[in-house]
Symmetry: C2
Subunit: 204 residues, 2 copies
């Protein structure tokens, strides 16, 4: 099947599909009961094809978490670094992060929290990456504080509050529900920004 | 040891200690590696004494979740039902819930999310109780909406946003850190209420 093979090898979106599908199967069946063959079957590719993306069962959870953190870097942190205004950057980060959480029924986001299933070295690496994200978000809040735009909030607690609101839909959002992913993202941006920014200093 | 025995049988606080300690050990060692004897040893009581509180290993996770939901009912929902003003009720609920989350390093709150480890019947029961809590919180938000006090927010998303912010400290809060549990609770109340309530209609 040359068409499928080409798609497997060339498209970035294919890696996303691989890791999201693997995450969904692990959440449904449990890690121990999931085989590489199950994932290959669900994707309609061979096990050999699947090994273009993953290192095998033992490292699969870690690979999925790395994929999730890579996605966060690529779609949230890197574009955010180009935004000079702190409030605009914050708004972008909340919206962009919220949009990736609900993809693939949130399975990747849920698994990123399963640090206990990793080896100590893997867990340290994932923790380090999460910490870097927290620090970047907090630095933006510290900038807003300096500008006098932040309410009287501890920026660590505020950064965790944002991450909490943004990540939680991985547990409840249903693609066939009343709200689109975009609507959920907008609601989170609205509530987070109004909870953070000092009133009277920004247009609504 | 009559003194210990009396304490075991009479004090409400003892049940809390049992379930929080059990939850912490399970989070540290993993459920499979945790024995009833480990928990008894950590509490300094006999296995027989421990069986006053738990039904044994197979139902232990479920018992811990029930304890967590009972605590939520007793300390948040029941007192909140006595508060007529919706904004005051909301403020109380966020603060009271935030205060119980960080107890015992948040282990009970983390385990309440591990629904996959339950039998289907147990999971249905825990899900039903969580749903009842969500409905009660959302009803308060619906009241605020009717009163014109709520920002233009979907009350389901807003209710989940509150639960997210309140529950997340179970994952990061450290009792030996820079902030007291009370300070974290206050920060969450401040950010949540300002994110929810229409500006200009309430005193800060």
């Amino acid at each position: 099947m040359p068409r499928l093979q080409k798609r497997v090898l060339s498209s970035d979106g294919r890696a996303s599909e691989v890791f999201r599908t693997a995450a969904q199967i692990i959440l449904e069946k449990g890690y121990d009961a999931t085989s590489v063959a199950d994932i290959a079957t669900a994707l309609g590719i061979t096990k050999a094809g699947l090994y273009h993306y993953i290192h095998g069962k033992t490292q699969l959870l870690y690979d999925i978490m790395q994929y999730g953190m890579d996605e966060l870097d690529r779609e949230v942190v890197q574009p955010a670094r180009e935004i000079r205004d702190a409030e605009e950057r914050l708004r972008f980060m909340v919206a962009a992060h919220a949009r990736i959480v609900t993809r693939g029924q949130g399975a990747v986001t849920i698994l990123v929290e399963e640090g206990r299933a990793l080896t100590p070295a893997q867990n340290r690496n994932v923790t380090r990456r999460k910490r870097a994200f927290l620090d970047f978000l907090r630095a933006t809040l510290d900038e807003l504080k300096k500008e006098g735009k932040l309410r009287n909030l501890n920026t660590t607690v505020a950064a965790f509050n944002i991450i909490a609101m943004v990540c939680w839909p991985s547990r409840w959002y249903q693609t066939d529900g009343a709200l689109t992913e975009e609507q959920v993202a907008e609601q989170i941006v609205d509530m987070a920004l109004n909870g953070l920014i000092r009133r009277g200093l920004r247009a609504v």
